[in-house]
């Protein structure tokens, strides 16, 4: 790989161990401007750990991380707000950076939660909270977005809309996105690069390449790879308004 000005973050054989146990090892990947890199893998395969290595949350790591931006937006997998903290959505939006009211409103309306602006964070449902988390991360127009299961708990139609939004953000802001998701269906449609993890990188490449990979099939089963091919199939033709099917 030649040096590239578009690289936002690059992991070189990165790994992290806790109590003498490797959570993830030997991960190399890079996120570039305007590209979406998706991490997939079973539970405990080191997806979140890899994201935290990329973000610089874990410092004592194996290998190295090169980060070329400080404008980062992060949606963690888990976040709990203690009752002792009276925190409204509005306060949460300016948590790490003071941004204008207009930007707050814009981000909240993109994720469809403008009406929750004055609500207490503790009173939100799981899906609502997830939308607020995403809104906060995108509101400051970051160069790098790290989204750890950003649509968990969101209703089905909302899920599709949010993935479309993520794709749109990546195009409009030209920001790089590191995405973690379980939902193979939706993810693959917008992803440029897939990294399949299982304690190490078991395979990586374009969604199509990964789907054909035997290790991927072993990990997710035959069905999963069919999901991808079916998806790919959907896009080799278009339905015209007259109901005809036209080849691409």
């Amino acid at each position: 790989m030649s040096s590239n000005q578009n690289i936002l973050v690059k992991l070189n054989k990165a790994g992290f161990s806790l109590n003498n146990k490797w959570l993830v090892k030997g991960v190399s990947l890079q996120v570039e401007k305007g590209k979406i890199v998706t991490l997939i893998g079973p539970n405990g395969s080191g997806k979140s750990t890899t994201a935290k290595i990329a973000l610089g949350i874990y410092k004592k790591i194996d290998g190295s991380v090169e980060k070329y931006t400080s404008k980062v937006g992060y949606v963690p997998q888990k976040i709990s707000i203690d009752w002792t903290l009276p925190l409204r959505v509005n306060d949460f939006m300016v948590l790490t950076e003071s941004i204008s009211n207009d930007l707050i409103d814009e981000a909240l309306s993109l994720t469809g939660v403008t009406h929750l602006k004055d609500k207490n964070l503790g009173d939100l449902s799981g899906g609502e909270f997830q939308r607020v988390l995403l809104a906060r991360a995108i509101s400051k127009k970051p160069e790098l977005l790290v989204l750890d299961e950003p649509v968990q708990g969101v209703d089905f139609t909302g899920e599709i809309a949010l993935y479309e939004l993520i794709k749109k953000i990546s195009d409009e802001l030209n920001c790089g996105i590191l995405l973690i998701s379980h939902d193979l269906h939706t993810v693959m449609s917008a992803t440029d690069h897939v990294v399949c993890l299982n304690g190490h990188v078991c395979c990586s490449g374009s969604p199509m390449d990964v789907a054909k990979n035997n290790e991927y099939k072993a990990l997710f089963g035959e069905q999963a790879s069919q999901i991808l091919s079916r998806y790919e199939h959907r896009h080799d033709h278009i339905h015209t308004s007259e109901g005809e099917i036209k080849k691409n």
Binding site: I57, P86, L95
Partner: protein
């Protein structure tokens, strides 16, 4: 005006309450009440050293409390003992050493009750300067680290990921805790300082809907407690610390009425 011991105590108390308000909120949010206790207990050692070496009390307490805080951070890194055990270890051993040192200082007249529970008669004009200048510095530094400290209080990883350096903010906050204990020890006494930090903040939580409001109500609650407490201390000839804390408890109980109402409204 400053000749009147009561006016001096009042001015000192008001200065302390303005600073304990916001710091107390962080103590509640970050679950640091036992940590505050540990620093306060270690303050006794600071006081005895100040007496034996003719040092300024506030300065000596600040140094010792900071050292204890740093020791705690080191111990946390080196052992696997749980945090509360380490805090207890430091709190009681520093308290014990302080008391042992007092035993050796039999030639000095010691008002141990005043030390433990506060003494409004003991507040001098110098103390006022220390409280107001020290307090202003504490608030200034707190304002400077507010963003990273608050963000990491909500979620450490979020703050770290988005480049706010929460570790530095936490270290600075620890120093601020040592400083507030140092400047308020004469007023409230070392056994009750943590109460001054926690109770107004806890009261404020019951009636506020945003962090800023909670800080504001916490300051107001602290001020009311100080004024009420000091007047009753004068009236009933009780120690200043317990009187102030009892007053703040009263306010806390009143705030519970509010929370009951809001819970009812929800259901």
């Amino acid at each position: 005006m400053l000749d009147d011991f009561f006016i001096r105590a009042l001015i000192a108390g008001i200065g302390v309450a303005i600073v304990t308000g916001p710091l107390g909120c962080f103590v509640v949010w970050r679950r640091l009440s036992y940590f505050g206790d540990t620093l306060a207990h270690s303050a006794l050692l600071g006081v005895t050293l100040a007496y034996s070496m003719q040092f300024n009390i506030a300065f000596s307490v600040f140094i010792i409390s900071s050292l204890i805080a740093l020791t705690l951070i080191q111990l946390q890194k080196r052992t696997n003992l749980p945090g509360d055990a380490l805090l207890g270890l430091l709190a009681h051993s520093s308290l014990a050493i302080g008391l042992v040192v007092i035993g050796f200082l039999s030639f000095i007249r010691f008002d141990i009750m005043g030390l433990l529970f506060g003494d409004i008669l003991a507040v001098t004009v110098d103390d006022l300067l220390i409280i107001w200048i020290g307090g202003a510095l504490i608030l200034l530094v707190l304002k400077l680290i507010w963003k990273p400290l608050f963000a990491s209080t909500v979620n450490y990883e979020l703050a770290e990921a988005e480049g706010l350096n929460p570790d530095r903010a936490k270290a600075i906050f620890t120093i601020l805790m040592a400083a507030i204990i140092a400047i308020s020890i004469k007023m409230v006494g070392l056994l009750l300082i943590t109460g001054m930090l926690i109770i107004p903040a806890a009261m404020a939580r019951n009636i506020s809907s945003s962090p800023q409001k909670m800080v504001m109500y916490s300051i107001i609650g602290g001020l009311l407690s100080v004024i009420l407490g000091l007047f009753s201390s004068l009236e009933f000839n009780t120690a200043s610390g317990p009187s102030i804390i009892a007053a703040s408890l009263l306010l806390f109980i009143l705030s519970l009425l509010n929370i009951k109402q809001s819970i009812k409204l929800k259901n």
